[in-house]
Structure formats: C-alpha cells, structure tokens
Amino acid sequence: MSVAAKTQDFEPLIVAFCCNWCSYAGADLAGTGRMSYPANIRVIRVPCSSRVSPNFILRAFQRGADGVVVAGCHPGDCHYVSGNYHARRRFSMLRRFLEFVGIEAERLEVHWISASEGSRFAQVMQDITDKIRVLGPNRKLRDSR
C-alpha cells in the first residue's frame, strides 16, 4: 500500500475531554443545531477541565488515540470559579513537555468552548481532525500490544 493510500484510509481516533458546564454543553448545542463534525471525535464528560489528570491523556494515547482534546470554559467563566485556570497551567506545561519528549504538540489540544459556542465546537473538532489526519496515526505513545 502506498503512503498516500494509507493516509486516505487513516481514520483518526480523537478523545475529547469536555467539561460538563461549558464545552459538553457546547457540544450539545452543536448537536441541537445539527452542525456536523467528523465522527472521529469521541467525547468523555468530566465535571471540569481541572478534573482531567495528565494520566488520562497519556492513557488515551497508549490505548491508541491519535489526538486528545481538553475543552473547558473560557478563562473567568469556570463553573467552579478557577478550575480552568489550573487546567491552563497544567496543560500548558504538559503540551510543551510532550513536545519535548518528541510527541507532536498538535496531538494534544486545549480549547475554551462555552455553552453557547456550538458552531465553534464543531469548527474546532473539524480543525483538529484535519490536523491529525495530516499528522498520521499516533505510533509514538501507542501500546504496541
């Protein structure tokens, strides 16, 4: 199989951790508005972006995710006052660190998507899927078994 054909066939798996109050609701709104985005996106609901431990992200990569998204409320709008501020530090550091150990930074994306930004949710997910398609499958962190 040629490389080109491989990229054609490659359907990335992208895990999105969405905070219940903003981004998950934003995803719901994308649904209500029938704003389509690729089926490669699979959402895990968490109460807050600050609930997401880097371990979950690494685990997703180990289990074969080609990209991971963490989505939370815009800074200042956190339902839990300051959760996204903590998340912002944590994932700023993690993303740089993953890049340092040789993982493409684009595989981990963090976005602030509010409950009213359904179309932005769809757009962000579309963009990420496109980017990961170009990047190709995650072979670096994946469990080889």
Binding site: R89, M93, R96, G102, V110, V134
Partner: protein
C-alpha cells in the same frame, strides 16, 4: 574537609550526650575509596564513625520519612542540595522541622566515581583528597594531582545552592556560588526537531528497567504509596513495553513539576544512565518562562506554581510550532 569532619564528630557526640537528640544521621566510610554510606548513630561513642569526604552524596533527609518517625529528635547533616530536598519534604508536610536538628555542611562539589573510572584513575586508588580546587588521587606508591571540577558530578557543576538554605548549626564557612548554565542540554534538545527528540528519548526510555531508583531517591517523591505501585486502579502496566516506560517517565517528571529541587539524585542513581535531569529541567525552565522564576525547596512557605494560578497566565497550549 578534615576540619569539618572533626567538627562533625564532636558536634554529633555533643548533641547525643546532651540528650538534645536521640539519633544522628551521617555518613560513614565504606571499604572502598568511593563508598560513603549513610549511618545511624545513637551512641556518642560511635560518633567517630562519621565521615565527610568527596563521596558523601546520599541525601539523608528521606530517612526522616519512614525509618525514624518514632525518634524524639534527630540530628542530621545537609549539603546544599540536601537542604532543598528537606524543604520540599517540609512543603509536602512529610517532615516536622522541630524534630530535626540540622547541621549545614557547605559543599563545593563531590566526586563522581564513574568519571574517575572513565579517566582510568581507579586502579589501586586508595583515597581522594581535595585541597582548594585541586584533587589528589592517593595510591599505594604514588599520588596524582588534577583539577577538581573535572571529576565533580555534573549536578555539582550546575549547583546553585551549595550552601544549605535551612539549618540549625553551620559547620565550616559558606562556599562561593558559581554554577554553570544548567539548561544547556534542555536547550540543545529543544533545538532539534520533534522526531529527533522522540528518537533520543526512545533510546533513553527503552533502556529503563523500572527499578524505580529515581523515584525512591527523590526528596519530592514522598507518597506513602506510589501511584505506580497501585493495582486498583492500575495506572502503570506491568509489561516490558516502551509505552509503559514512557508513561512512567512522563508522569514521574510531571509529578515533579514545580516541586523538583534539581538535586540531580534521580539521574545519579539511575543504573542505565537515563538523563532524568533533562526531563526535570525542561519543566523547571518552562515554569520559569511561563510563570516566573521559581526554585523549589528554597522557601517551603511559597505556593508551588502548579497548584496555583494567575488570571493573566499565558495559554501556552495555543503555541503551535508546526509539525
């Protein structure tokens, strides 16, 4: 160093006999030139066992955790790096300042036996002495003199706190602080492309035998039960598998973010020479860049950068460096 060793022994005997402490933690000389082990001394008569030489590298602070919590008060000796580790343990509320009587030992660097070996100076070596900036390798029938920094641990060459930041009693005079740039290796890696970096770390991580020495020696790794040992949930798989090694090293380093005192012990004890300091220092460098300079272990009252925030923090995950 001899005078300090004399003082060490005298002070240890004094605090034991006065009943100020019921245990002294120090180093004692082993059988071979490079062996200086931790020793527990409960009797002032044994104070003569204490040694202070170019190989007293183990940090004694971590013994405060499990082995001796039932002691009334413990005296122990700290080099600069050890003191930072102790402060980190303080910040993690793992040690009680009141229970420790700290002797500060300013340290201008310790000798890396591996460097001695690599230079071929180890055959028949009896001991190593230092005078000023010069080392004397003493053999049965000859001596060899050389510049000391050549044989210091890498971590000593970049040491920024050779004089302990916490102590009750100072042994000797503070030494000058003169660190080399510590982010050189990190910057070099940062300059490479992402695949080259991956290959570099793949080479490193695939050597890991998961002996957990790096974790066990670390003064910031003080959990009662480590996440990597838990079976429910099982965070870290048991298989010999690169991805598990990656998980271990990324998570270990990340747990250290904002807490690593950069004492370099992890890299020193690694049996397969994984450059763990580069991982730790990458995080230190990023924290310094993004949230302002922060040196873990200097002031245990300061809030570590990854459990606080500033509403105006940069969103560094929006940076895109391209594929």
């Amino acid at each position: 160093m001899k005078e300090i060793m004399q003082k060490m022994r005298a002070e240890a005997a004094r605090v034991l006999s006065s009943g100020e402490v019921d245990l002294v933690l120090g180093w004692e000389k082993g059988d071979l030139w490079w062996q200086s082990y931790p020793v527990f001394i409960e009797n002032e008569k044994k104070a003569e066992l204490l040694t202070w030489d170019l190989f007293c590298v183990p940090n004694l602070a971590k013994y405060l955790l499990e082995e001796i919590w039932h002691k009334k008060r413990v005296a122990l000796f700290f080099k600069g790096c050890d003191a930072l580790g102790f402060n980190q343990l303080m910040q993690d509320k793992r040690v009680d300042r009141e229970k420790a009587f700290i002797f500060a030992v300013p340290c201008s660097g310790l000798v890396d036996p591996q460097k001695v070996e690599r230079a071929g100076l180890h055959q028949g070596l009896l001991r190593v002495e230092r005078l000023g900036d010069e080392l004397t390798f003493v053999y049965k029938d000859r001596e060899k003199k050389t510049a000391a920094p050549w044989f210091y641990y890498d971590k000593c060459l970049t040491c920024r706190y050779p004089n302990p930041v916490v102590f009750d009693f100072m042994l000797g005079e503070p030494v000058p602080v003169n660190p080399r740039e510590r982010f050189t290796a990190v910057k070099e890696l940062e300059g490479q492309n992402v695949d080259a970096r991956f290959q570099y770390w793949q080479r490193q991580f695939s050597r890991c035998i998961r002996c957990f020495a790096c974790r066990n020696v670390c003064p910031a790794c003080s959990c009662r039960e480590c996440i990597f040992d838990l079976t429910s949930p099982r965070w870290l798989g048991k298989a010999t598998e690169l991805s598990e090694n990656q998980f271990y090293h990324i998570t270990r380093a990340f747990h250290m973010a904002g807490r690593c005192v950069d004492c370099g012990e992890c890299a020193r004890v690694c049996p397969v020479q994984i450059p763990l300091t580069s991982l730790n220092r990458k995080l230190i460098k990023d924290i310094d860049e993004l949230y302002g300079p922060y040196d873990a272990g200097v002031d245990p009252q300061k809030v570590p950068p990854l459990v606080t925030f500033n509403p105006g923090d940069p969103a560094a995950f929006l940076e895109s460096k391209g594929v």
